[in-house]
Symmetry: C2
DNA sequence: TCGTACTTGTCCACCCGCACAACAAATTCT
DNA sequence: AGAATTTGTTGTGCGGGTGGACAAGTACGA
């Protein structure tokens, strides 16, 4: 839902104002704090126009005037006034639903995590149980929220396939969920009605890394996440690749070896059967019930075993297909691929270099996430914040004020 | 480059006018002929605004008033005046560079092919030879062009990987070209200086099918082209997927069978080694020198042989990986896949259904191109026309008037 | 220490472009 | 033929970005 699709519509002047106000807020959000002078050059608008927009943002209670960034002051001239996120400005709830635990945070503009809480998720938990657990965490997290701070929405990261039209969880294999309307469940448990956005964890990882991680300024990147299942979030040309239903990026089921092991999807030799959590757990003789904590197990290794090195090569070979398909500038390795990259990075790189075409290979770089294990959580915050950048006024109109009181009552 | 990437810029009112004029022209271009009433509802602007824009288009010599579309007239009320492409309106040169022949056309707005010519391309021809040949075809094609019709640019479809930053042909395996600046070569042979755009043939096929083929109104589609090599053009969310360097869509080198045949790319068992032109030619015992005319050979078959059916299944299996990755709504089978789809379509469909994930599978459809074998040519015209839709006034400013005279002199 | 140069914020008039309303024109329906 | 309907045309109004003039605030140099 990044840049809304105005497929062929004209632009009237009201839309201009909306767009400019939203874009300005996006810049403030991206930088956390920014001077009006920088905004004028970034947006290519006149000083007076920026002044008007900043004034509107302030009167909406979103931003506030900041002292001219005391630090690096360069050149002569009057210092430019800073625009900063207001202390009790709008916020969102971000939920990272993992296979074994849920993390919930209240996040403000600028990606600031204001409160955070987490709880284990019972294995094979019913959706409504998990929903109740998440709702409890949300109550906890808004406990200290200032009454003036409006809640714009809730963003939820899901380890599975999410239909983009309505946020239905079509399939979350490792939660054993089919067609679950988790957004509705959480809202019902809270007794609230705010906009809820759900998306795949890898998609959100990509979004977060693009907005405030290693991918800032890089418009073609892929976030490959190893989390029991293997998935990818793709950003191309600065936009999220969603696909017709929202299921794009299912790289775990790329054909890898037609003679390979059977996959839970019904096929044989999917990439996931080689580099997925269960395959790796088996390779390093890790008990199956600890697959969810595979990254911690892997972090315990200090030297790569031959099995792990083979896995690294397989990761590289799979990445080669991905790189050939998408030609990204950056591939971010998330989930337990993080740990693996630190252990057998050279094997991954070698496997990639061996199988990728020269042209896409020369411009691609592998890297670790810049946000550690918070990528998906912060990505969930981003999609919930998104409406603010499309139309700040409208988004604040539908936002919820004094959430704490409403949840108490 | 559909909606240009104003990455974070603001919109001033000059940009509004540009955008609206360009969008209006895009609609006229898409429909060929359209009424002002339709334009008002499509663009969501006021009648009078549309009137102003249409007036500007007419005074630029791009469009002209048309009688109210004599045909289906519905409802009461004054009939709406039509907007049609002007007879001597702007045009472009489209070049479809094939492995064995080059097709050149002069194409006007609305995708109308005004003149066309073609010539064989010598096997292993040097780039400058091919360039001279193409230049001759261009001269031929502008022979009868009205002097008033400005030439906006040249678009060239290339069977290979094209760098998007400058249009350099990095690799065209079946022409045996490496790092060829074909655009410059053609311009030099013509002694002209007009904007030249180059792109991969599959990318352009996707673009053309999306603009005026079977993919009209479908924003997530893939055009898979079998043309000696196998490539794909991807349109997602209505935008071309280009990738960092412009090489996205190299599906021919997806890993298909690690124990398979060696591929010219240096690997083993790429999809192309199973379903590429040479593999198919071998399977049906077609002499290697007729690979370029494989579609004609295939059209000679009236019943599918077991070898072809196996190939069909392999195509389906490969498409499954593509569908899992991109989740398109439509997959268009171009090149000799057209002939194959007519022969062994059920095997292709079965192979796809067998291997794709349920969620992406349920919304995807396979189909033949709506533009036959002209997809790439018309796509080349589209990229050449593209600047007109971004800023008609500027594009006409750089256009070349009275091309015929200039080429003669 | 003071003056100059430079950059930015603020205020103003101005212009551009879209919206809106009123009227005229053209066609269908009754 | 007249009513209803839809659209083109025209003039006015308004929103919003632009640009200039001036003030404010800082750095640099004498």
């Amino acid at each position: 839902m990044t840049a809304q699709r105005r497929s062929g519509l004209g632009t009237n002047q009201e839309a201009v104002r909306r767009h400019n106000l939203g874009t300005l807020l996006r810049h403030v959000h991206g930088a956390g704090q920014i001077s009006r002078a920088e905004l004028t050059s970034l947006m290519g608008l006149n000083r007076s126009t920026i002044a008007g927009l900043v004034g509107e943002l302030e009167s909406l209670g979103i931003s506030e005037r900041a002292t001219p960034a005391g630090g690096a002051r360069q050149g002569a001239g009057r210092p430019s006034a800073g625009v900063a996120i207001a202390g009790d400005g709008p916020c969102v709830i971000a939920v990272d639903l993992g296979v074994d635990r849920a993390v919930v945070a209240r996040v403000g503009l600028g990606g600031r995590v204001l409160q955070q809480a987490q709880a284990p998720v019972p294995a094979e938990g019913e959706a409504w149980q998990v929903g109740a657990s998440v709702a409890a965490l949300i109550r906890e997290v808004v406990e200290d929220a200032p009454a003036a701070s409006p809640l714009v929405g809730i963003g939820i990261s899901v380890p599975g396939m999410v239909r983009r039209s309505d946020g239905l969880i079509r399939l979350a294999p490792n939660l054993e969920w089919h067609d679950v309307s988790f957004g509705g469940i959480v809202l019902a448990a809270l007794g609230l009605d705010v906009p809820v956005s759900l998306a795949n964890d890898a998609d959100l990882g990509a979004l977060a890394e693009h907005t405030r991680g290693v991918g800032v300024g890089i418009d073609d990147l892929i976030y490959v996440s190893g989390n029991v299942g293997v998935g990818a979030g793709v950003i191309m040309g600065g936009h999220r690749l969603e696909g017709a239903g929202g299921y794009a990026g299912e790289v775990g089921h790329l054909r890898f070896d037609p003679g390979g092991r059977p996959c839970h999807c019904g096929n044989r030799g999917c990439w996931e059967t080689e580099v997925g959590g269960h395959a790796i757990a088996e390779a390093i003789h890790c008990p199956p019930d600890k697959v969810a904590q595979l990254d911690e197990v892997l972090d315990g290794f200090d030297s790569p075993s031959p099995e792990l090195r083979r896995t690294g090569t397989a990761i590289g070979h799979g990445l080669a297909s991905i790189v050939n398909m998408f030609n990204p500038r950056l591939v971010v390795l998330g989930g337990y691929f993080r740990s693996l990259y630190q252990l057998v990075g050279t094997d991954i790189e070698a496997g990639l270099a061996d199988r990728a075409l020269p042209a896409p290979l020369e411009s691609v770089r592998l890297t670790l996430p810049g946000l550690g294990s918070d990528s998906a959580l912060l990505g969930a915050a981003e999609i919930a914040l998104e409406p603010l950048f499309v139309d700040p006024v409208a988004a604040l109109g539908t936002a919820l004020v004094d959430v704490r009181a409403r949840l108490a009552g």
